[in-house]
Amino acid sequence: MTLSQKWTVLPALALALVMFAVPVALVLREALFDPGWTLVHFERFFGRPVFQNVFRNTLMVAGIVATACLLIGYPMALYIVTRPARWRPLLLFLVLVPMWMSILVRTYAWMVVLGREGVINHALLALGLIEAPLQMLYTSGAVYVAMVQILLPIMVVTCYSAMTEIDMGLIRAARVCGAGPVRAFRQVFLPLSLEGVLTGWSVIFILSLGFFIVPALLGGRRDALLGNMIVTQVAQTNWGFAAAMAIVLLAATIVLLALVRLLAARFIHSPREGGV
């Protein structure tokens, strides 16, 4: 990096400092001083199995939601990217339309769909397929379905933009080398799209960790995530404990993502690295 390049990253660094480092420092101070130096909040968190169960559950839900989004979103992105160029903007637009509604509205919509008196139960009862309404609302399933639905567009867009970076000439090269369409996909396209896959998965994982409206409105008692715990503690003006939980969540996220990146660096290649 030349000196002038160093100077040009300064505004970005300053922004990161103000928007990220300072708030985190404030939260950290809240967690560690009450008013004097103390570890009591962290001891409380790690001393009680109930919090750790919620913590583990949060990581698991985030992992499952991110993986489910990947399994659904990747084929969707693949479908869009292989359509003729003039159709792609429309298809992407359709994927993004649900994001115009707030998460709260979409969560209520899921209550309408999944409730005892909801759309699905009505339909199934009317068709005579069930005798009594199914319990769908206030279950883990409802939480997963809604979270995946809310976060899926992000995965599709991330995978799509990664796929558009791949030179389709490479697929032709693979074909002319003797690879059928499936093998050309597996050996060339898939490996080159993994970077986008990983980015999408990580973003959704992180976003999922902070969810609290969806589990609060659609889940049962056992579906509470760390976000819900933090909200409860804040509501009780337990600032120190809420801050401690936020710090634990942040630390866990950083460690996990660093591990994922480290693993990925060994196996994943950017589609740009061979550029002419």
Binding site: R172, G178, S270, G275
Partner: protein, 343 residues
């Protein structure tokens, strides 16, 4: 590595995109082992012809035959051709070895055979020490060689190259040109080489097929196509030439012309008109000394041809000095050096 080679042939191949046709009734036979260049300006349909041959594009009409078998219905992976792409299209996530091994693995070659053939192909392109590198760690010329090795490793009877030298700088391009000629000589594969660079076409090919606007203009040996261009476009595109319209030419020479234009190459004009030569009188303009030769322009004087400018390029001789700019001069041209052109 001696390999099989195959004849191939385009039979009335047309490709339309909407109303426009990228290729119009191309009929062309390529002999087994021949080095044929598709030459033409950008947009003339060269890539389209190659893509139809490789199976990336379906012809709207007509059929392509490889080894006397129609291949229109076969997907690219079943046509058994090798191809070098303009941007090389190396797989960025694979090492040089894996790139070159790819066609062999797709053909289910054993490990031992793969190692042996990849080694031989890399040796052919002088890249033996680079097997473990990634394409990103190679120079442009080295990538080009890897692409070439990948195209020839499975010994395909037909090798296609689409503008594969144009991404290289001049020196490398000339080096690779020699390399390609050498490899063609060793392997004996049928090669279809696409370029818009006439000097590449003339120096490499057994025959040149010139395309313009999706139509085949002329197919011939490089010297024949240079000496006997059939149309005004061919004469203009290959080398430099002077085009003289029929009336002007007939006025100058007093002889009838069998077509709308006459072409005289600059190097066919000279300052020592012989009896029987056509004589051109005018004023010398713009002399450029190029060491072995002198180039310049002759502005014709007199009635109907007045004002037309002819380029000339004469070998420099110590004895016969070239007139100075501004001077009147008479240049001659042997009737045999005048080529009649069609439109």
């Amino acid at each position: 590595m001696l390999q099989h080679n195959a004849p191939l042939s385009f039979q009335a191949v047309t490709k339309r995109y909407g109303d426009a046709s990228a290729l119009e009734g191309l009929t062309l036979d390529v002999k087994a082992g021949e080095f044929l260049t598709l030459l033409g300006p950008s947009g003339s349909g060269k890539t389209t012809a190659l893509n139809i041959l490789a199976g990336f594009t379906q012809a709207s009409e007509g059929e392509v035959y490889i080894d006397d078998r129609p291949v229109g219905a076969l997907p690219p992976e079943r046509r058994n051709v090798g191809m070098v792409f303009q941007n090389f299209a190396l797989f960025p996530h694979m090492s040089v070895f894996d790139n070159v091994a790819f066609p062999l693995r797709m053909r289910k070659a054993t490990r031992a055979l793969t190692r042996e053939k990849v080694g031989a192909a890399l040796e052919t392109v002088h890249l033996s020490g680079m097997a473990d590198r990634k394409p990103a760690a190679l120079s442009g010329g080295q990538r080009q060689r890897v692409a070439l090795a990948r195209a020839i490793v499975a010994a395909p009877p037909v090798l296609l190259m689409d503008e594969c030298l144009s991404a290289l700088d001049l020196k490398l391009r000339e080096e690779m040109r020699d390399e390609i000629r050498r490899i063609h000589g060793t392997l004996g594969t049928t090669v279809i080489f696409v370029t818009h660079d006439q000097s590449e076409a003339l120096s490499l090919s057994d025959r040149v097929a010139l395309l313009n606007d999706g139509r085949l203009c002329q197919v011939d040996h490089p010297q024949a196509i240079y000496d006997r261009p059939a149309t005004r476009f061919v004469a203009d595109f290959i080398g430099r030439t002077n085009i003289i319209a029929r009336e002007a030419f007939e006025h100058l020479s007093g002889q009838p012309l069998g077509g709308p234009y006459a072409s005289i190459r600059p190097e066919r004009l000279h300052f020592t008109p012989q009896p029987g030569d056509i004589r051109l009188t005018g004023t010398i303009e713009d002399l450029t000394f190029l060491g072995a030769s002198i180039e310049g322009r002759l502005r014709l004087s007199g009635g109907q041809t007045g004002g037309q400018v002819l380029r000339f390029a004469v070998p420099r001789s110590i004895n016969a000095a070239c007139p100075d700019p501004g001077q009147e001069a008479v240049m001659g041209c042997a009737p045999a050096d005048i080529v009649t052109l069609n439109d």
